[in-house]
């Protein structure tokens, strides 16, 4: 007879991930020195200053060139931007909102190694025309140390081509854990999935999941689902395993925004420190800016 596993314990991966993230986060917070010796402080300050001066000196010249390229708004084709195909499995989509059934039909999925840095993100944003308006990392509610963009293409049952872009801002620990992050996932679709949304209202009532409309503009909804301690309908986003050269999916809990605008589904997930109400309000504005560009 097979080993019996309690139903509640059949898939504990979400809990495992949550425990690891919380412990590492706590370690990170505790690792700030409380009473370091003055010599260590002095050495640290000197090293930091040297690094900053070096970065400033290095960055001084290329800035003009980069700014010119971006200002020119040259649209590069997809194949010029994403050149390295890597391994991967399945696509990400909101499990809660009603597009899940449609996106789960994706076939012939291709994954590309993420492009690093804000300039690369800007190039991809430019290639998407008016669909994406990136926020400078200085305007985000945290300081990311990773800025990257993912691309996953697939074919749908109806023969249409679909491309998902995930613009990620992350504060990653040196052990590779995403301590804080915001992921903006943009997917082209041929219909507005929110048109079916009213029908799933019962799910919210049954599961006690609260979804509010914080409005993208006076015509279009921007739905917000606050992170809950339950593991129902986890938030999924792409992550990259550099060593294995593969894209894998992170299953976690997060605050989520969801909207449809001009042929694109926008799914934004974030986990940030701070008072949730303040962060949520700031994030709603950032999301509106990302979609509408104002």
């Amino acid at each position: 007879m097979d080993k019996h596993t309690m139903r509640a314990l059949q898939d504990v991966s979400t809990h495992k991930e949550a425990i690891i993230q919380k412990v590492l986060h706590q370690m990170q917070q505790e690792s700030y020195p409380s009473k370091p010796k003055w010599t260590y402080r002095a050495v640290t300050i000197m090293i930091t200053c040297s690094i900053l001066l070096f970065i400033a000196w290095q960055a001084a010249q290329p800035i003009d060139q980069v700014a010119t390229e971006v200002n020119e708004g040259e649209k590069l084709p997809f194949t010029d931007l994403f050149q390295t195909e890597v391994e991967g499995k399945n696509t990400t989509f909101s499990q809660f909102f009603p597009i899940a059934n449609y996106l789960s039909q994706a076939k012939n999925i291709k994954y590309y190694a993420p492009l690093q840095g804000f300039e690369a993100m800007q190039s991809v944003a430019t290639s998407l025309g008016n669909a994406v308006h990136l926020t400078n990392s200085e305007d985000l509610p945290f300081k990311p140390n990773i800025q990257e963009v993912y691309a996953v293409t697939s074919k749908m049952d109806d023969g249409s081509q679909q491309t998902q872009f995930q613009f990620s801002f992350k504060e990653k620990s040196y052990t590779g854990v995403d301590l804080q992050y915001i992921n903006f996932t943009v997917t082209n679709v041929d219909r507005n999935p929110l048109a079916d949304y009213v029908k799933s209202q019962n799910i919210e009532d049954t599961l006690g999941i609260k979804v509010s409309n914080v409005e993208l503009n006076f015509m279009n909804p921007l739905l917000f689902r606050e992170m809950t301690p339950d593991r129902d309908f986890t938030y999924i986003y792409y992550n990259y395993d550099e060593a294995e050269k593969r894209i894998y999916q992170m299953n976690t809990r997060a605050n989520e925004f969801y909207s449809y605008y001009n042929g694109y589904v926008y799914h934004i997930g974030y986990q940030l420190d701070g008072v949730s109400q303040e962060v949520q309000e700031k994030m709603a504005n950032i999301v509106r800016g990302f979609i509408l560009g104002n």
């Binding site: 309690m6 314990l9 504990v12 495992k16 690792s31």
Partner: protein, 171 residues
């Protein structure tokens, strides 16, 4: 390798098992999550462990102790009191559940066992540990493990008269 990296590796290896253990005692996924988190943080700060190849048992014992502390705590007693207070309402809700299969009944029956027979049952049948391993983990004689297993099986038989679970009845 830094201490944090070591801890991260340990967590990758042991978290799932410790989480299951914590759940067997607390019957609550969220509390089990908190307990395992506390265990790793305490382990990291204590730095008492000397590697002798017993890490698995050491962490399991820490988790069990933390769970037992929780079960003695005021917070747990309050929850138990509330559960008793709202028993009627809970029964009505349970009656409305039409689709409750054998697995759910079995899980529920195991979790309803008193703590001593429950822990031996879950370690023996669900975690597939030997009598000797259970005795070492719980720091009790092997004879006591056997008698607790016997008692657990008898209690389960009473609870699960209407379904058959071959391992328990013939094991």
């Amino acid at each position: 390798m830094s201490d944090t990296e070591k801890l991260e590796q340990l967590m990758a290896i042991h978290t799932e098992r410790l989480f299951r253990i914590a759940y067997y005692y607390t019957k609550d996924l969220q509390i089990a999550e908190d307990i395992v988190q506390d265990v790793f943080i305490k382990f990291y700060h204590q730095k008492l462990y000397k590697e002798r190849g017993e890490m698995k048992a050491y962490l399991a014992r820490m988790t069990i102790n933390r769970c037992k502390d929780y079960l003695k705590s005021w917070a747990y007693r309050k929850i138990t009191f509330q559960d008793k207070f709202f028993t009627k309402q809970k029964t009505v809700l349970q009656d409305t559940l039409i689709l409750q299969d054998e697995q759910d009944l079995l899980d529920e029956a195991i979790l309803h066992l008193p703590i001593k027979p429950r822990e031996t049952i879950v370690y023996y049948y669900l975690e597939e540990m030997t009598i000797k391993e259970i005795a070492e983990l719980l720091e009790i004689p092997e004879g006591t493990v056997k008698s607790r297993l016997r008692k657990g099986k008898e209690l389960l038989k009473v609870d699960l008269q209407h379904i058959e679970w071959e391992v328990l009845f013939h094991g």
